[in-house]
Structures are given as C-alpha cells and as structure tokens.
C-alpha cells in the first residue's frame, strides 16, 4: 500500500497549487467574516451540505468564480439591499413619509381653520345640508359648513397620534408580559399565556368596546387605550416566542457560561435579537391600529368632541348623508385606505425581507 497516492505535496510553482491556495484563503476569510456577521452567504460556500438539488440559488454559490463577489453582509444590511430595489416597499415608504410629514405640519398646510364654519350660511337642513365645492373650498364643506379639505389634512394628526401611541402602548404591554413569560417561564409563563389566550379569544372590536365602556366619558385616550390593549397579546406572544427560541441558542448559553446574570442577558442579548419580528409586527400593527381607530370612531367610541377632525368619525357622520352626498365618506375613507396600505406594504415587504424562508 506504500504507493497509494497521497495528496502530493504541491509544488509552489505549480499554477494549480497556487490557485488552490489562494482559493482556500479567500474561503477561510469569508467563513470568518460570516461567523462574525452571521452571514447566510457563507453557509453555501463549503458545499459539503446536502446533495445537489436543482435550485438555481445554490448555483451562484457552487459555481466557480462567484463566491468572492459576495461580500459578507449582515441580516439587516442584506435586507436593506433587497428592500432598496423593491418597488412595493418603496411605495409603502413614500406613502408613510408623506403621511407623517403632512400630519406634523398639518396646521401650516391646511388652507383654512378646520373648526370654523365658514359656509354655515349655505347649509339648509332640508334642501342643501352639505355645501358643494366652490372657490377657496376645493372639496366643499361639511354639514356644519367647515372646510372639508382642511379637516382631512388636520385629521391626519389624530390618526398618526392614535396609531403611534396605541401601537407603542401595545408594544410596551406586550414587552412586559412577553418578557415575564419568556424569560421567567414556569407558572408565570402559564399564567401570562392563559391571560393572553383569553385576550386573543375576544374579538378585537369587542375587547376595545368593553375597555371603552369602563370609561365614564369617551375621549381620545379611551380610543388609544382600547386599541393598545387589543395589540398587547399579539406583541406578548411574539416576544415570548422569540425569547423561548433564544433560551437554548448558542449566544445565550455562551453568555450564561461567562457568568452573566439573567437580567443583563435578557436585556442586552435576548431582547435586541427579538427586535426584527417586533419591528415588522409594529409596522403592520400601525395599519391595523389606524383601521381599528377609524372603526371605533365610526361606532362612536372616539372623541365625542366634534371639533377635532378625525377620519373615522367623519366617515361615521357621512352615513347620514349617504343618499345625496357620498363624497363626504369617500374622502376620509380614501385617506384611511392609502395610509393603512402604506404601512401594510412596508410591513409586508419588511417581513419578507427578514424572513429567512423567503430570502431568495
């Protein structure tokens, strides 16, 4: 057996040997890079994994010559690289940015004061309940003679405030419950999750209504709290799931082995890693919050003060004039739909970009 061919000691001047050494070094450095940044790209480079399947994705990796062109990219960076060219995401982002800007600068953008009944003289309860479009009032007025356009613009503020505060409230509530359940486990986990199950088993609007019923007077805050409570169980489940999944993962075990206390591990190592899905959920939750806020205002849970313009409430009031003036409903509805769509498109494409299953 002495003459079995061993991998011959490569002659340093041999062109292939040089090629091979250079190739190895590149792959090694790539692997190190990938280990640091948790790259998905590096995994395919070695190629000793599964048998060849006719998936064109692996081609770029197994094919010679393409590996060095793929730099090590972190999860978020690679997600951004893909999102940057995704028209759906860009549309959602544009809508969202415009909406936020309009909401912030609403009082300066709105051509008229949204509260003053400029056209009140034209309103006749029987013959002409809603003044039509006219110079200075491109969309006409509402049933109290107020400028419809200005009310729509200023109404965006209410929508943004309610949406953001409610989602934030839901996130905080979910963070507390989810962290308690996921980090402590045991009976705390069971108790919290039963509570979450119950909250999930009550239809969102029913839950919101029952929260609203506790308040002696409906206000903007009832609305925000009601929607926030609806979001709590969703965030709680999400965070708990993520924490549980991480409890046995390598970086947490490593931190434990280093003797780091439970609190710092949870807050510095586990929670930051759970933020990806949470941010996605928050974006989607904002859309839901905006639609729910509109629905609740429509039912009458919102701010009873009719002076503050709010899209859902405007839509509700339009019901009365459905026979002759459906446009009163169209405008606020279109605003709600466009804004909700903006957040949904953004959230969905974010989710897709961060989901390893759809990373193709």
């Amino acid at each position: 057996m002495s003459d079995s061919p061993k991998p011959t000691n490569p002659n340093p001047t041999n062109p292939i040997a040089r090629y091979r050494e250079a190739r190895k070094e590149r792959i090694d450095s790539l692997a190190q890079l990938s280990a640091r940044d948790r790259v998905a790209v590096g995994a395919g480079a070695g190629g000793p994994g599964s048998d060849w399947t006719p998936s064109p994705d692996e081609v770029s990796v197994t094919e010679s010559g393409t590996i060095e062109e793929k730099p090590g990219v972190s999860l978020w960076r690679s997600a951004w690289l893909r999102l940057r060219r995704n028209p759906v995401f860009l549309l959602g982002l544009t809508i969202t940015i415009i909406f936020v800007l309009v909401a912030i600068f609403a009082p300066w953008i709105a051509p008229k004061d949204p509260v003053t009944g400029y056209l009140i003289d034209q309103v006749r309860r029987q013959t002409n309940p809603v003044p039509g479009p006219q110079p200075g009032f491109p969309l006409g007025g509402d049933h109290l003679g107020r400028d419809l356009l200005s009310r729509l613009i200023v109404g965006s503020r209410q929508t943004l405030i309610v949406g953001v505060l409610a989602t934030f409230g839901g996130f905080i509530g979910g963070l507390i419950l989810g962290t308690l359940a996921g980090a402590l486990g045991g009976w705390v986990d069971s108790l919290v999750m039963r509570l979450v199950d119950v909250m999930l088993s009550i239809p969102s609007l029913v839950l919101a209504l029952s929260i609203g019923a506790v308040a002696s007077r409906p206000s903007q805050w009832t609305l925000i709290i009601a929607i926030a409570v609806v979001q709590v169980p969703i965030f709680a489940r999400l965070l708990r799931g993520s924490l549980l999944a991480q409890r046995s993962s390598d970086h947490v075990l490593a931190a434990q082995a280093l003797g780091i206390k439970r609190g710092p591990i949870i807050f510095r190592h586990m929670l930051p890693n759970a933020m990806g899905p949470v941010i996605v959920q928050a974006t989607l939750a904002l859309a839901v919050a905006i639609i729910d806020a509109a629905a609740l205002s429509f039912i009458g849970l919102g701010d009873p003060d009719q002076r503050t313009p709010e899209w859902g409430a405007m839509l509700g009031q339009a019901q009365t004039y459905i026979y002759d003036h459906p446009h009163l409903a169209y405008y606020p509805a279109i605003c709600i739909i466009v804004v909700a769509l903006g957040f949904t498109l953004m959230g969905e494409s974010l989710r897709e970009a961060l989901d390893p299953k759809t990373r193709r």
């Binding site: 759906v88 999930l200 239809p203 639609i291 629905a295 009458g300 409903a329 739909i337 949904t344």
Partner: protein, 335 residues
C-alpha cells in the same frame, strides 16, 4: 385522539374561568358598578339598594365572585336598559344570535369558495401577473376598512340603483318562525318568498363581511400551496405519472388545506368584529348591531353577555376546528 380532545376541553375550561374573572372585575370597574350595570343608570336609589343587598355587594370579593359565576351559569345577566328596555339580556342575545350566525356562515362560505381556488391558481402560477395582481389586491383588501366596503356596497347597490334592500333582515311578509334562521325557516315552511327575502337582505352584508376572511384565506392558501408544491411527495406523485387532477386534489390540496383550516377557525374573531361594523351599516339585527347599541346606550347587561358569548363562541369554534384538524391530519389523529 380522545386525549387530545380532553386536553383541548381542559384548556377551554381554563380560558372560560379566566374570562369570567376578567368580566367580574370589568363589571366592578364600570362607572356606577355592577348595580348600574344590571339596572341601568336610570334606576331609583331604592331599587339600587335592594339589588345591592340581593347581590351581596357587602360580602368579601371571593364570595361575590362565586355568586357571580352562579348567576352566569343560570343565565341571569340582568335586564336591558337601552337595546330593548326591560327585556332579559339573555333573551336579547338568543334572539339576535341566529341572525349573526346566518350572516357569518354565508360570508365565510363566500370567502372560502372564492379564496381557495384563487389562492391555488395564484400559487401554481407563482410570479405571474395574475399572482402579483391578486397579492396586491389582497393587501389593498386588508387596508380597506370593512365598514367602508359595506358603505360602498350599500350606496351603489341599495341606495343608488335599488337592486337590493338597504337594511334589515327580511321584508315584513308575516313569515312563520321556527328556528330563527330565516332562510332555513322559509325553506322548511315552503314560504319561499320569505327565504328569498332573507337571502336578498343577506347578499350585501355578507359580501362586505366576506372581504376580510377572503383576503386572509387567500394568502394562506397561496403560501401553503407554494410550500406543498415543492415537497418531495408531490415530485413522487409526478414520478408516478398520476393525472393532474389526482395530484392536485390528493397530493397538493389535501396537505395545503391543513393550515387553511386553522386560519378559518381563527377568523371567527375577526368575523365577529367585522359583523359589528357591517351589521351597523346595514342595520342588520344581529349581535354586532346589539353590541353597538348597547355600548352607545351604556346597556351593560346586554354588553356583558355579548362579550362573554363572543369569547366563548370563538373558543368553541376553535375547539371544533382543532378536532376537525385532527380528523384530517393523520399525524395528529394517530398520535
């Protein structure tokens, strides 16, 4: 299988207990407390004092809770103060519930019939124009508030062209009532005009209500079919030379329907929420409309039973779906 059902039933009991506690505290935190909740805000101080004694509000909390659970089990939720003043809250629920079931069943049926084939086709033509169009369509569908869909349908098909009724559940035809399900009643008594009228009243609200489950079922079906199509056993089925029809029904859809079934069960919650809005727009006398009127009129007795029942129905339907799931999926059944 049996153990599985028993475990799910135990969970159901757990959820109901927590729910009753929440409701108990909810009642106490209402403005005016449980007495107001049961008698309404316009009751005299004398009435209130008498009820307070009957309810034992001077007793310790846990005794009050036990008494409260007893009242729930006996169906004593108090009398309505606004929805139908003086009527028993339980009776109002029982009268309204069939209307909502009728509406929801029709809506879910529409959603399933439309969403599953469309989801399947979109997945099989993954990446095509049709696929992308339906995806965008379902995203838009999610962004449109149900009450606006209802509003649009009502305006165009009922108000503007008058093809379908604007509101209500049935024209006043003096129909015989047997089950409180009007279509079923009409068919049973052969009063076909009654059934037709009930159906006509259902068309617009059920289409509006169907939009939400449609979008969700469509997306799940599409994603699930996409997953299944790349499974090895579908390739095996192809390698057997089976016909497309057999591959589709036996090998793709039978597997792809499992997650869809779960989602349909979870849709009950959003269906009830949607019913609240559609019923309000169409003045349809179901529990959704009752919820809104009881909320607006601060009719806590009615509100209370509706909240409880909404949650119980949700949990029950999901239990049924889980059992169904076990029947369909042998991996659960034969465990």
């Amino acid at each position: 299988m049996l153990r599985y059902i028993v475990r799910r039933l135990a969970q159901l009991v757990g959820v109901t207990v927590v729910l009753s506690m929440l409701l108990f505290f909810w009642l106490r935190s209402l403005p005016g407390g449980p007495v107001n909740a049961m008698l309404g805000e316009r009751a005299t101080p004398d009435q209130k004092a008498r009820l307070e004694a009957v309810l034992g509000l001077d007793q310790p909390l846990h005794i009050q809770y036990v008494a409260y659970v007893g009242r729930i089990l006996r169906g004593e939720f108090g009398n309505s103060s606004a929805v139908l003043p003086g009527a028993d809250a339980m009776d109002i629920f029982l009268a309204r519930f069939p209307a909502t079931i009728e509406l929801s069943l029709v809506a879910v049926t529409i959603a399933i019939i439309a969403a599953i084939p469309l989801g399947y086709i979109a997945a099989r033509r993954h990446g095509s124009i049709l696929d992308n169009a339906t995806i965008v369509g379902s995203l838009v569908g999610i962004a449109v508030p149900v009450f606006f869909t209802a509003f649009l349908l009502k305006y165009w098909f009922a108000v503007k062209y008058g093809w379908l009724p604007v509101s209500g559940r049935q024209a006043n035809l003096g129909c015989t009532r047997i089950t409180k399900f009007f279509i079923l009643d009409g068919l049973m008594t052969r009063e076909f005009d009654c059934a037709a009228s009930a159906l006509k009243h259902l068309i617009l609200p059920s289409i509006a209500l169907a939009t939400i489950p449609f979008a969700v079922i469509f997306r799940i079906t599409r994603a699930s079919v996409l997953d299944v199509v790349s499974e090895d056993y579908v390739r095996t089925a192809e390698a057997k030379g089976l016909t497309n029809r057999v591959i589709r029904s036996r090998h793709i859809l039978r597997n792809a329907m499992l997650p869809v079934l779960t989602i349909i069960g979870l849709q009950v919650g959003s269906l009830l929420a949607g019913a609240i809005l559609t019923e309000t727009v169409f003045n349809y006398p179901g529990i959704g409309e009752a919820l809104v009127s009881s909320f607006r009129g601060r009719d806590y007795a009615v509100l209370q039973i509706l909240i409880l029942m909404a949650a119980v129905v949700f949990v029950l339907v999901n239990l049924i779906v889980d059992v169904l799931y076990a029947v369909v999926d042998p991996r659960v059944r034969t465990r």
